[in-house]
């Protein structure tokens, strides 16, 4: 951290959020970043085939993870995430080892059993539906969980689960994004759904400008009479405050919101583009500096947090190395529920 001079000054109007929360967010942002950097190291050491993930989205993802109503079933929030959502899962309480196990395709990976790429999470106990590689399909499935929640929220007014869906800016060109807007905003059938776009200004290598005529993706929601917001997803304070209010609105009104958060892509698209640092706004750095300026934390303390998580991440890798890998016969498991036979040779 390059800040040496500390002003030790709280902002004039007092802290925008409780001190404990600010420190908790920074802690989780560091944890998430360290975890992703460990995954990149695992890739570069040749211990995995591919990396894709969310460094640069911590300021957006951590507040989201802290604000979701976590649990299983209609009463809780459903999450339809994409492959950059590690900060959200870390904030929800995911142990680092879970992510490392996916990265190293261990049999112990509870999200995919060693079948899928990094950050393809699945936690039914938290309503985190499986992250899937095809861009934008999650915006279609989100319609269904939101529909089921709308039905249950109406039947039981104490139930206020909402659906949250995430994805990138380039992906919003897919028809699935339009489907989500159409189905969420039908008059009299509005869905309790937070439709989000993390705008990092890039597809893989295609710039935002080359793909979009609309000024902001969020503007598209206006045609559907839904509330829209554009927030600075590099600022965890703004994100937390706005997200909190928006989620309360959706729970209260049962109506959709389209929210666009600007984010960074700090290690490029994926390992396919090198997974090397890219000079963009680094939300962790900025937030660290701010909290140091406010006298809430020192550089030394930040270094200690970072080191603690680095140790945890390294130990997770060391443990995962010793764990069993999937076996050839496992290809036939879980094709049908209750492991009913799906091999035609045995019909």
């Amino acid at each position: 951290m390059s800040v040496t001079k500390k002003t030790l000054k709280a902002p004039a109007k007092g802290l925008p959020l409780p001190k404990e929360l600010l420190l908790q967010m920074l802690d989780l942002m560091i944890k998430s970043r360290v975890l992703e950097e460990r995954l990149i190291k695992i890739y570069k050491a040749g211990e995995s085939y591919f990396w894709i993930g969310g460094p640069g989205e911590e300021a957006w993802g951590v507040p989201l993870g802290l604000l979701v109503n976590k649990g299983r079933g209609h009463k809780h929030d459903y999450l339809h995430l994409h492959y950059r959502c590690s900060p959200t899962l870390v904030a929800m309480g995911m142990p680092m080892i879970d992510s490392v196990r996916i990265m190293m395709n261990r049999a112990t990976d509870t999200s995919t059993g060693g079948k899928n790429f990094s950050n393809h999470f699945c936690y039914p106990e938290w309503n985190v539906t499986p992250v899937s590689s095809p861009i934008e399909v999650q915006y279609q499935m989100a319609i269904g969980t939101a529909w089921a929640q709308r039905r249950e929220n109406k039947a039981n007014t104490k139930t206020k689960g909402v659906t949250i869906v995430t994805g990138g800016d380039a992906g919003s060109a897919e028809g699935d994004f339009a489907s989500c807007l159409v189905w969420s905003s039908r008059k009299g059938y509005e869905l309790p759904i937070l439709i989000t776009v993390q705008n990092n200004k890039w597809g893989i290598s295609t710039a935002y400008e080359g793909q979009h005529g609309e000024k902001s993706v969020a503007d598209r929601g206006k045609a559907f009479n839904m509330r829209t917001e554009v927030i600075n997803g590099n600022d965890p304070i703004e994100t937390y405050i706005k997200l909190k209010e928006i989620l309360e609105y959706i729970r209260r009104e049962g109506k959709p919101v389209l929210l666009e958060a600007t984010t960074s892509r700090l290690y490029g698209h994926s390992s396919a583009s090198g997974a090397s640092p890219i000079p963009e706004v680094d939300c962790n750095r900025e937030f660290s500096m701010r909290l140091m300026e406010w006298g809430l934390i020192t550089e030394k303390e930040i270094a200690a947090i970072t080191e603690r998580y680095e140790t945890e991440a390294r130990e997770a890798q060391e443990l995962a190395r010793t764990e069993p890998v999937p076996q050839p016969e496992d290809i036939w498991k879980h094709i049908y529920a209750n492991n009913e036979n799906a091999d035609w040779r045995k019909f």
């Binding site: 995919t112 279609q140 269904g144 089921a148 699935d176 489907s179 189905w183 039908r186 529920a337 019909f347």
Partner: protein, 352 residues
Amino acid sequence: MANMAQAVRMALHVGEEHLGVKDIFGQDVGAPLGGVFTATQGLKTAWNTPLDERGIIGCAMGIAMTGDRCVAEIQFCDYIFNTVDLLKIAGNTLWVSHGNYNMPLVVKTPVGAGIRGSVYHSHSFDAWATRLPGWKVVMPSNPLDAYGLMLSAIEDPNPVLFLEPKALLRVRGEELLPGEPSDERELKAMIDAPLGDRSKWKPRWPKLDETFRVPIGKAKITREGDRATVVSYGRMLTLCNRAADELKAEGCAVEVIDLRSLYPYDWQTVRASILKTKRVLFVNEDTEVTNFGEHLSYRVTQELFYDILARPRLLAGKNVPGVGLHPNYEDSSVPQYKEIVEEIRALIAEVP
């Protein structure tokens, strides 16, 4: 006797009342129309979706992820093709999530030719459907099986594709559904929506046996015989039955098997019949290249090669881009009754 559309409708009603179905949806599926083939008339959970097939499948997947039961309709299978990647995901979600997320959903869709439906109301989907691992695929050939298979499909914890041979949807069955009134006019008065204003209409559902099932994965021998085996499903099955009756009148007994479930399929019944007759013909109307019948005949050559007396045959749709409207197009594209009879005769006449 109920027709197949009425049978499906009654099964869906039982699904709503007894099997936890909370949503039945698709284009024009709700009131006032109740589906372009009337299969969803009068159902209390039926609703109209936007005209968006991907949304329909995605919505069904999301509902299934919550554990709720739903039945989604694609109005014609000709319009299901833009959802294929979602169907792939519905089929692989349990597997890829390592057993975490079941996909208990039913997608029903009318398939096949036979109503002069031209290029975009005549497609088949059975060959495509059998390339969607994780799905179960069923296709009834009569109202009773439609009733029993739909109930099994709703109950199944996996995604089930329920293919409705569209030319059979208005055809009456030969057997009563358990509990169905014996007078078909009475049934019609009870459950068919009236023409004109339907805003005050409510169906009176007959008390059907809600425990009746046709298990998924079980074929049915519809004609017994020892000279050859014919395996089919859907509309083609009814033509195969007729062909067997014609040949029977000539003293030639042909065994016909209604596969009913394409995946998982009842190999034991097919195998036992082929071992008895030593000759087999597969009949379906999807296009012939990488056709599901090719898989079945491949399996026959692999497992029963030294037991049979003739090469296994497949009669399927010609590998052309579509079914044209003029009868000369349709009749030259999809298997016709006469061709089936000729193919069976040739199969029986083949000398090893």
